[in-house]
Symmetry: C2
Subunit: 146 residues, 2 copies
DNA sequence: CGAAATAATTAGCATAGCTAATTAAATGCA
DNA sequence: TGCATTTAATTAGCTATGCTAATTATTTCG
């Protein structure tokens, strides 16, 4: 099967663009005073509801010891609370506090505002293109092969 | 000024898509045995040619001490070489070795293949859309406001 | 009941980010 | 000219985030 040169070029540009985009919003996240791993884990807890440590680690694609420490940080900052699972006392249940929910919405708002401000400079036709492209990319990422 | 709801929604989706995309390719990068910061810096050196430490730090949007250590790692791995700038002996010139170039191409190939395989499942019209969207996003990211 | 499995944590290592302080070299001005 | 300032890079030392291996507590199962 011959490799498609232009397809690989597109993939490369896509990769590079994603890196630059995230690097840019990272600045806003830094303003919240909470690191990226914590922010991301908090997001899962806020939107997904109470969850065990192992499940949270799996959701964030990190190992349990890593997640244990991330939760330590979130707990110390008062953004989540640990409690023992009553029906299996080995397990913990991690839940967002009201502060945790507020903090997450706040951070998301900053990120999104910043990106939106930049996107606002594009003509409507290009915005439509971005919109369609996102759908396409998500579809491609969700596919199995590769 | 009224906030544009759909624009923020687009920004949010864009952000989320970028995260998922990079999480996916991170797996391939890990196979190279070289960390993401080193890989990214190496990429700048390989494609941009010899560069000073400060310029490289700026290009990678990190502080000079951070870049100094990243270059330490790359040098130790034999992927780049440091030399003194003859016309200003305070400065160093960082250059990719043949090994460095080979390693980068190798890693890039893995990443790109993986992404390309997924993109290949999209119809031509959607690929064209992705292409245009990337241009638009890069233009938006490069803009000053925000 | 005791062995094995499971959930989480602890310990210890590497990478990657930062600021502050240091070293070496170049620039600049009295 | 010569000394002070600026600039390039590094060193030192902190935090955060990733890992594996080992420990602890609890549950499950033969």
């Amino acid at each position: 099967m011959p490799r498609d040169r232009s397809l690989e070029e597109l993939a490369d540009r896509l990769h590079s663009t994603a890196i630059h985009l995230l690097r840019m919003v990272r600045v806003r996240d830094a303003e919240t005073g909470i690191g990226p791993a914590r922010l991301s884990a908090l997001s899962v807890v806020v939107f997904g509801g109470p969850i065990s440590l192992n499940d949270l680690a799996r959701a964030e694609q990190v190992k349990p010891p890593t997640m244990s420490r991330i939760v330590d940080g979130l707990e110390e900052a008062g953004l989540v609370a640990r409690s023992t699972n009553a029906s299996d006392r080995r397990g913990v249940v991690i839940e967002a506090t009201a502060e945790g929910k507020a903090m997450l919405q706040e951070g998301r708002r900053r990120r999104v505002r910043m990106l939106a401000a930049r996107l606002a400079q594009l003509p409507k036709a290009e915005l439509a293109s971005v919109n369609r492209a996102i759908d396409a990319i998500q579809k491609a990422l969700a596919s199995k092969s590769g």
